[in-house]
Amino acid sequence: MNLDEVDSKIENWEPKIIAFLCNWCSYAGADLAGISRIQYPPNVRVIRVPCSGRVDPFFIIKSLQAGADGVLVSGCHPGDCHYLTGNYFARRRFTILKNILEYIGIEEGRVNFSWVSAAEGEKFATVIKEVTESVKALGPAKRLIKRFNYRKL
């Protein structure tokens, strides 16, 4: 049985989404969402990073290789970066990377980006809802996952 078959057999499949949140804005935004008891889907696994500028394309691609169904990178709004310009540089890198990934055939909606400030608990919940829904609509990730096809030579 290969992985494709395994995936399709799983009933009530729920996507796994990795979220890289910047320490100063989006992570605090997630906190606020929690404190304010705003409901959002439990599909995200949060990884706290100092700045969206810290998010190397490796992180995103490695997540996809390790089996994440979706990725979200979230940072401070432009102009609000704790380190002044980290998110500006990141934005250019993400643009290029997202374009490459979609160009080779990774479905639009697998890799997502957002700006969420520390005051936007409500927005954080909305973003997570949107991302979860879009990834759910795409179904389990199949591309770029490492399969360990050890029988095939």
Binding site: A66, G67, F148, Y150, R151, L153
Partner: protein
């Protein structure tokens, strides 16, 4: 030894017969080159080829091979895994010689590699003599005859309208008996076969002087020759990965979450990482040392260990080098410089 003949058309049916019983790998056209690949029908096979782009060594020594599988730190399954009975159809004499050189490394008095041996023992080699060697071919300089059946289970010679099948082993015999379209070879066929291999041999005009090369290299480790030689080499692994005799590998554990495999991947002496120590020290620091290693290993160290040269004269490294580094020239320069 026994010889059979079969008409050109029937060879396709013969391959089709084999496909039901074995995994059959044969030369197929891919983009602008020929490569050995699994065929599902005899019609896919392209027998008018000179030689394949990549060496068929990967059937015995795959580029990436899983050795074992583990989960949560516990062994789940250990290789060598069974890849079934495989037939390599149409392999050239130089590449068969390559197999025998690999055999020296992977199956000897000190060391028997089960991964290699399992595959070797389950493989049936149907060799095919060359009709039109290329100008980059210099197998005869290495003592290989483009019509030589050494090491094959069956050996095919294309004599125009027919193929002569030479039966060399019981495995070969078994394969022939799978199909009833063969006739006994007549004298005219055998004469033609002789002529074809003589012609092929004749056509290989590139000569490289190998005798005395080992001795010459013995004293050349510190020679200034190496400091210029590598200059144009960009340090990729085309020459070593396409080579039928290069056999270096690297073993690594690949873990994702709590599952993983131990894998053996090809490695190349042309990469700096090949000899990089954990300390950060690299005994083969620059292209100079790496190029020297490649040449020395083929024409000196290998000769010392195994009494044979680790080159079969297939010319793949020459044809495919992006900067036109020509091994024939290198050898000539060593001989005359």
């Amino acid at each position: 030894m026994e010889e059979k003949v079969i008409s050109r058309e029937k060879v396709v049916t013969f391959i089709d017969t084999l496909i039901g019983k074995y995994y059959v790998f044969a030369p197929v056209k891919k983009k602008d080159f020929i490569s050995f690949d699994e065929v599902k029908s005899g019609n896919e096979v392209y027998l008018g080829y000179r030689n394949s782009k990549d060496s068929p060594k990967r059937f015995l020594f795959p580029q990436s091979e899983v050795m074992l599988r583990y989960e949560k730190g516990r062994l789940i399954e250990e290789g060598p895994f069974d890849y079934g009975k495989r037939v390599i159809f149409g392999i050239r004499p130089c590449d068969i010689k390559g197999f025998s050189l690999l055999n020296k490394v992977f199956d000897n008095h000190d060391f028997r590699d089960p991964y290699f041996i399992t595959k070797r023992d389950s493989i049936i080699l149907i060799g095919m003599g060359c009709r039109e060697p290329q100008t980059t071919c210099f197998c005869t300089s290495l003592g290989i005859d483009p019509g030589s059946s050494d090491g094959a289970d069956l050996f095919i010679t294309d004599i125009g309208n027919k193929y002569v099948f030479q039966i060399l082993t019981s495995k070969g015999e078994g394969i022939i008996s799978e199909y009833d379209g063969f006739n006994d070879a007549e004298k005219a066929d055998l004469d033609m076969k002789e002529k074809v291999s003589e012609d092929a041999k004749e056509r290989i005009r590139t000569k490289v002087e190998i005798s005395g090369l080992k001795e010459k290299l013995d004293g050349m480790f510190e020679d200034p020759f190496w400091s210029d030689l590598h200059e144009k080499c960009i340090g990729c692994a085309i020459c070593t990965y396409l080579c039928p005799t290069c056999h270096c590998f690297d073993i690594e554990d690949e873990t994702v979450n709590d599952k993983g495999v131990r894998r053996r991947n090809w490695d190349s002496c042309m990469f700096p990482l090949f000899t990089l120590h954990t300390s950060g020290h690299n005994p083969r620091e620059s292209g100079k040392e790496r190029m020297r290693q490649r040449i020395m290993h083929k024409f000196n160290y290998f000769v010392s260990y195994w009494g044979d040269t680790a080159c079969v004269g297939c010319g793949r490294c020459i044809i495919n080098c992006p900067v036109n580094m020509d091994l024939r020239k290198v050898i000539n320069n060593i001989n005359h410089g």
